[in-house]
Subunit: 753 residues, 2 copies
């Protein structure tokens, strides 16, 4: 217990305008706080207070919040409500305020904050021993204070920090009482008593692990710390159990605990397999516990674990955002969540402090306008004061998926021209655990901060009580996770892997090529061979910046090989209003659904046409910009103008439109499309600039097992040829092929001229 014990003598010199003080403070390393704040960092911060603007501002806001809470009085109600309801919200506020009060007590020295925490903890300690599991029975792992253990863990992660801040201030008999009556039982409840929650690889479990670990570190309870790091004994648990999200409760090889949760869901690039929305949620426990471990168990070298993946994860996460800092809603992601969330404030500060003090992180911190109130936030605030920040310009990049980085990934192609940015997000990753969607080779596209072609995200109103208690809505499973809700191909109106989690989670797409080295021709390509047995998908997306055009355009080549004839549907989920089509279509007098299952039951068929030509065009207006998709078609390809919203008795779904290109009775085939942002509309000047596509046509001029060749024709009759190699990718190979009597020779994966 005493192994951390050392003594430090710190000479604190405070220099302000007119006076110079010196004081000698005796700091005992084993003296609390020693979890996130430490006696040393408290002393350093106090020295600088008043002179570190972002830190001072954050402290001020924090003080206002807590002072208001103290004024309102302590309220520890008997747990009753779902998320968004009164008792839920109150307990949530309680842990947040306690954590803040702990910091204020340490930094401002005002005992009222310590008293507030103590009195509240005593209330919890009074209630806890007789508390049954929460009366709301919806969760696979019901909590005591909240409807699910997840929220109980949130409580303990934050409260541990508060407790640490007053630990040394409390009389010994009170810490003994609280440890025994409240905290150790609480930790056992979350772990031993709820193994299906604690002992798996999942963001929920990470919270559980960290809750147990944090309180273990505070109480110097090695057993709890080890349980947090390594999980429960696997003999004690059923490895085949499933949670009520449809996820396996335990990792395939039975690993569990915090380190397993770092090992398994993170790829070596720092991508978290559940997707950025859940990564954002999980980053806080990952990093706050890492910081605590670094403070109390530096010999673990947690920030170097798996080649420093925790720091890389912060960089990955910041890159998984649009121009407004909002996370791409891959898998179950709620739109609007952004790097302004408090867990990212912590993450950025911790990554700056424990990483390489990357000055690009500072510009994010500056936008956030707040810091974590500890040594990491202090360092960031000082660096900002010194003007050290550099712009965080998001670049094209690939983030591999899979714990070894060999389970596909996410390819992001980007165009940056000052404030004008376009981003293409292409997903060829693994299933993403229970929050994964069945959307192999899907993509989304952004212009500036706006979605152009959307990923629907989840179907949920997080913490809006009226909407199913703030929890997932039925339509998440019946629509949002389905393939047809995404910009990728559905075969025979059945979702990928027959919408079976057991199948989906055994497979992943395969990266084929990622090359963003040439800003005028960035390419990403991947294959999916398992979504439909007997069918191979190979989708290549290229971002081309042609000199003659203001903005880049996308070439999208989706090649399909199958062992039988199928129907294929490729939707493009645009927004806004249709401006023109070059194909005829009929609009029905009454609306029916597109199908009966796999999400088709949630889609209205608003219009139907047949291509009747070799290339169709579809132009729409959204956010005062014009967009066109030009797509090579067979004459009998069908075009469906669709809209989400059927069979939605509680209006849980957004009424968003899409155009679906349907190929019936096709076996091997190709979808080849150009996607472009080409103009804008100014409603004040009432001027439409470049309202027409820059292209007249796209054609597949050759396609076989070896090569796929595409010809695109510009409006001004300029032509370009794109040839993609379908051979095993090797950038060194020399290719030579004759198409329509002309020979093309090149080296590497593609030809484009």
């Amino acid at each position: 217990m005493n192994k951390f014990l050392t003594f430090l003598l710190v000479l604190v010199v405070v220099i302000s305008c007119n006076e110079k003080k010196e004081s000698i403070v005796s700091i005992d390393d084993n003296q609390h706080p020693n979890l996130i704040l430490t006696a040393k960092s408290v002393s350093e911060i106090k020295e600088k207070l008043g002179n570190i603007p972002v830190f001072d501002e954050t402290l001020k806001t924090t003080k206002e919040t807590v002072d208001a809470a103290i004024k309102k009085g302590i309220d520890v109600p008997i747990p009753k409500d779902m998320a968004g309801g009164y008792t839920h919200t109150q307990h949530k506020a309680n842990y947040a305020n306690m954590q803040k009060a702990g910091v204020l007590f340490q930094l401002l020295g005002d005992e009222k904050y310590a008293i507030y925490i103590r009195d509240m903890l005593l209330e919890y300690a009074k209630m806890f021993p007789t508390l049954p599991r929460h009366p709301q029975t919806r969760s696979y792992a019901r909590g005591k204070i909240f409807w699910q253990c997840l929220n109980d863990s949130n409580w303990l992660v934050y409260t541990s920090q508060a407790y640490d801040c007053i630990y040394s201030w409390l009389p010994k008999e009170q810490t003994t009482y609280l440890n025994k009556t409240l905290f150790r039982p609480y930790a056992d409840f979350l772990s031993i008593e709820t193994p299906q929650y604690f002992n798996r690889v999942h963001n929920h479990s990470t919270w559980g692990n960290v809750a147990v670990g944090m309180i273990g570190l505070v109480m110097d309870d090695e057993e709890l710390v080890n349980r947090a790091l390594y999980g429960l004994n696997k003999e004690d648990v059923d490895l085949t159990a499933k949670d009520n999200d449809g996820g396996f409760i335990f990792d395939k090889d039975g690993k569990a605990g915090f380190l397993a949760n770092v090992d398994s869901p993170f790829s070596p690039d720092g991508f978290y397999t559940e997707g950025p929305y859940y990564q954002r949620y999980a980053m806080y426990p990952f990093l706050i516990f890492a910081e605590a471990l670094q403070n109390k168990k530096p010999e673990l070298k947690i920030f170097e674990y798996k080649n420093g993946v925790l720091i890389k994860a912060v960089d990955a996460l910041l890159n998984l955002t649009d121009a407004d800092g909002e996370f791409f809603p891959l898998n179950d992601g709620q739109k609007g969540m952004s790097y302004y969330t408090s867990s990212l404030v912590s993450a950025v500060d911790i990554a700056y402090y424990y990483g390489n003090q990357d000055p690009k992180l500072l510009s994010v911190a500056k936008k956030q306008g707040a810091v974590q109130l500890d040594a990491t936030g202090l360092k960031v605030a000082i660096a900002l004061k010194e003007g050290k920040e550099k712009p965080f310009v998001k670049q094209s990049m690939e983030l591999s998926d899979g714990s070894k980085g060999d389970e596909g990934g996410i390819g992001i192609l980007r165009y940056n021209n000052g404030d004008e940015t376009i981003a293409l997000v292409y997903k060829y990753a693994a299933q993403g655990l229970s929050h994964g969607h069945y959307d192999k080779l899907s993509f989304s596209m952004y212009e500036n901060g706006d979605e152009v072609l959307q990923d629907y995200g989840l179907s949920r109103f997080v913490n809006v009580e009226q909407k199913n208690g703030g929890g997932y809505l039925k339509e998440n499973k019946t629509f949002a996770k389905h393939t047809i809700a995404h910009n990728t191909v559905v075969q025979n109106e059945v979702s990928h892997f027959e919408y079976k989690y057991s199948k989906g989670s055994k497979n992943h797409s395969e990266k084929y090529v990622f090359d963003a080295s040439n800003p005028s021709f960035q390419i990403v390509s991947a294959k999916e061979n398992n979504a439909y047995p007997g069918t191979q998908f190979h989708r290549t997306m290229v971002m081309v910046k042609d000199e003659s055009l203001d903005k880049p355009f996308i070439i999208d080549v989706f090649k399909i090989n199958a062992d039988k004839k199928n129907q294929y549907d490729l939707p493009f989920y645009y927004f806004g209003q249709i401006i023109s089509t070059n194909f005829d279509y009929n609009t029905p007098k009454t609306l029916s659904t597109l199908g009966d299952n796999y999400g088709y039951n949630h889609i209205w068929n608003e219009g139907n046409g047949v291509a009747n030509q070799e290339s169709i065009q579809f132009t729409w207006l959204d956010n005062r910009r014009f967009y066109t998709i030009t797509s090579a078609t067979n004459k009998n390809d069908e075009l469906i103008l669709a809209r989400i919203g059927a069979n939605d008795p509680e209006f849980n779904l957004r009424r968003d439109p899409s155009i679906i290109i349907r190929k019936k009775n096709a076996q091997n085939t190709i979808y080849a499309s150009i996607i472009e942002s080409h103009g804008n509309y100014d409603p004040v000047k009432e001027v439409a600039n470049n309202a027409y596509s820059n292209f007249s046509k796209i054609e597949v001029i050759s396609d076989n097992a070896n090569y796929t060749a595409i010809k695109i024709k510009f409006k001004d009759s300029k032509e370009k040829i794109l040839i993609l190699s379908n051979l095993k990718s090797d950038s060194g190979i020399e290719h030579s092929v004759t198409i329509n009597g002309r020979n093309y020779s090149w080296k590497g994966f593609y030809y484009f001229k």
Copy 2:
């Protein structure tokens, strides 16, 4: 011709940093320019250039635009295309660039600008004499250069200014040639040869009048100036003819010309009966011609005409905007048009100069960031430089309609709390000429710059060629103008006045009360007795700011008396997603339209319920805010969840939702509702604040010919009683009434406690 002739000697003193120059300029009042720029103002402006930031900046932008145009070369194509098409856009650019070049020639003295105008005018003079009417036959008054005379008039209004700027520079024989070959024939074409266009009261005709008047002033052609001011002789024209908008071509009493166009459509408050979108369009010709008249015929005292209505009109127009400066889309209005449009830059500057130099106008000019490049803009720029601006805080106000101000009006109730604003726009005006909608007693509501309950506006994509050449879409007549497209009552599924323009334009609603003197209780009330023969509507809207609530709420009382049983529908066009309802409803498996005519044919029926209680609640989330309508119902009232978009083969309509409260087999009845903005959702914090309504119920506790009494119950069980007098309004009357055994006594129109 020589009656304006005077001579002035002006001593111009230019002081710059290091030098002092003196020069004596001889200015001849009859010397051009003397229309908008004058020799005197040119001299004053030149003196200040480089020292008046907004003016300098505007001049710089103008120079860049024109220099680029000159570089591109002169292009005067044979007219061919519709709006948005090539020849249309080119001719539009030509007149805009000529007008700007004229200003640049005068202010910068570079002859290349004069040469550019001269050469272009010679091209037009070459083409014009043999030009037939435009090949596109859609307009009731086809132009020559454009598809409609309206655009030809735009051309002449701008080109007159350019011509004036180079008139004295051109050799006499060239002005003689241009006057005879191009301008006089052009003016005759727009007037004598197109009487159905020129000789009526309509924004189109205003442009025609001004075009003829401006060129008349340039050429000192009194006959044209008089024709512009007073119209053609009425003996020559057919008073019963209609245009192809469905409007009467001539004013009821046969008045025409510019002064008639000031007299008739403007109310004494400066409200223009067509609505703000067309007022904005018309303000430019109204004010630019007024400025020209003031310069050349000051004896007309045009700015004092009709008690200075032209200046008042600018103030009215600025008040008819939301927090972002966008005009309320009353009648045919395209959303997004705002006071940033160039015609409002002119309007604000002219109103400042010729009005009382209202410093509030300066803050609008500051936002616009540009000024008119003449004496008015100079004055504004100098005042801005001197920091004279005051905030333009829009207040609650009533704007009467009708040339005498006795044909109803628009009542705007406003709440301002810093950046937090709520505006209720209640329409009880006259028909609004051919651009009017059939929406008696309708309203719309705004929060900050966002629409909460919308007015659909027009159905058109102005200048987007793919959408019907940028012109009105069929759906404007079949949906957007209809009653069901608005937040007001439809009887028996037939639009007001049976959707007949001849009936609508004979009638108007009647103001009953407007009182915004108490910011905690602002009230507006009006009656409509003619929309449906035998039925009287009386709608009262109140904006209440209760101390216990953060924001004001609206009480909406729509009282109906009829001589027989009818069906009534009251829609509320909200945006966003439904959060909860306290009534049950069914959602159909297939969607059908609400009806077959009067706009009902464009609405899908997405859900149906029956109230089954005395008060229903409907909560939705939009723009991260929660809203609720609480409405008193009879148990068998029906609720319809509707969405626009049926029978829309070209997807011209937006898929916007509404909730319709339907009362069947009702004779005398009341819709009494509370409309409130009560909370917000933060997707970063994932917190829903005040997601529930502040009210539990609204009841009609008494209703008869004399009084209507409403009880509203707050969630915390507080109650308030609202009693409205239905007697002829008289704020002095003492009232006493007993309801449910309790006596209420008060003075004036309403009781609220």
